[in-house]
Symmetry: C2
Subunit: 237 residues, 2 copies
DNA sequence: TGCGACACGTGAAGC
DNA sequence: TGCTTCACGTGTCGC
């Protein structure tokens, strides 16, 4: 239904757009991203990495724009009503609370308000570019991990991020439960074996070392021992 | 170091900004988000949900903006060079490949190019608002799952998304390994118990049922049995 | 067609 | 201070 979203990370621009020629300034950077498989794709989607970070376009010579209106954000395509201009430096009241290490988050992400315009974020172009690159890298890293996570999840069908997370949670809990049960089983087996050991001693087992504690059976619980799927059950002590 | 990012999802606007009065049109929506614990916060960060979706602001009467420049995107704060105007409808060549169910992703997310201007994205304001809300919802859902996932991960310190994912992967693999080992152990224990059972029979155990297969020991491997932590080991055919 | 899912660039905030 | 992380609104695409 809504699948096939496929984590369309990366590229996006830096492509031949036929009619629009992108200048490739910002020659520097190139950002060592290469340390990645580049096509993971056997998995499913996720761009992950595509080794195409550099070749960073600036706005096309035409289209002008002039980029007035300083730090407004993302002018939507709406013509009459737009959601713009509500986060030009005034944006988030946000938490602002302590949360020293973890927890502590207020109960409602702090309704402490304002503290408006704390940081004007006058970033110069170089910093802005680095920021873009860093963020891009971060997204790639995350997607990489999503891919890895999804690869160790059995029978995963949908492959969208939410499903992967959900499945990881489920699988984690299942595995936990399984370990618990298995450990119980092993513990039971140990007791069971101890019981049998005791019985062996009772019947004068001569070829084995005789260094057993004769009173250990006092601490043994009354158990019902099932062996190798046979139905014979016996009670001991 | 870079911790404490705390998934600053949610709210962002819809707050009293003192100097700027936000009109609260778009009265509708309200989007049933309530089905959430609202303060998960015992965990760490992540806004998750905050039950404050409605009260959607439009741009302030002042600030004008006029919102010309149709679908340019996010004019950065850069003054000279800006990264704007490279995705005004022309943006992504992207995959465009099939990937029917899963897999199939080309090898480099398809270098099939262009198919430019497929969808002009003339979204009306209502659709735009719905889009914003839907996206917000999606982010909340994802963060919710991140919280849940992090909550079942033991000894998690950093709590940023990458770490959570990473830890989930590690833990998942550990658990898998543990299950494997435990299962082996259980299998061994079964054999071991059978061996003891056989020994009991050999020494004429009269009070137990005698319906065992006398030849089963032929198929039993030579094992070393450790019982209840005692060091006495015995070898049995 | 509308909706779900992603990637993007960006402002903000904590170290 | 610079780096990292996050949330945001938006464009785009597939079903």
């Amino acid at each position: 239904m809504e699948d096939t979203g496929l984590f369309q990370e990366m590229d996006s621009f830096a492509f031949n757009f036929d009619d629009i020629s992108y200048l490739n300034t910002f020659s520097s950077a190139s950002t060592p991203e290469s340390t990645n498989s580049s096509h993971y794709n056997n998995n499913k989607r996720f761009h992950s990495q595509t080794t195409q970070i550099n070749s960073f376009p600036i706005e096309s010579p035409d289209q002008s724009v002039a980029s007035a209106t300083p730090p407004t954000k993302a002018s939507s395509s709406s013509k009459i009503i737009s959601f713009d201009n509500m986060n030009s430096r005034i944006k988030k009241p946000k938490t602002e609370s302590g949360y020293g290490e973890n927890l502590n988050f207020g109960s409602e992400y702090d309704k402490r308000e304002n503290k408006v315009a704390a940081a004007i974020t006058n970033r110069n172009p170089i910093q802005a570019r680095d920021h873009v690159i860093a963020e891009r890298k971060r997204r790639q890293k995350l997607n990489q991990k999503f891919i890895t996570l999804s690869s160790i999840l059995p029978g995963l069908k949908k492959m969208d991020k939410a499903t992967i997370l959900e499945d990881a949670i489920i699988h984690l809990n299942q595995l936990k439960e399984q370990v618990k049960n298995l450990e119980e089983q092993v513990a039971d087996k140990k007791v069971e074996s101890a019981v049998f050991m005791k019985r062996s001693i009772l019947f004068a087992d001569d070829d084995s070392s005789s260094s057993y504690d004769e009173n250990s059976d006092q601490s043994l619980p009354k158990i019902e021992a099932r062996v190798s799927g046979k139905t014979s059950s016996q009670h001991s002590e």
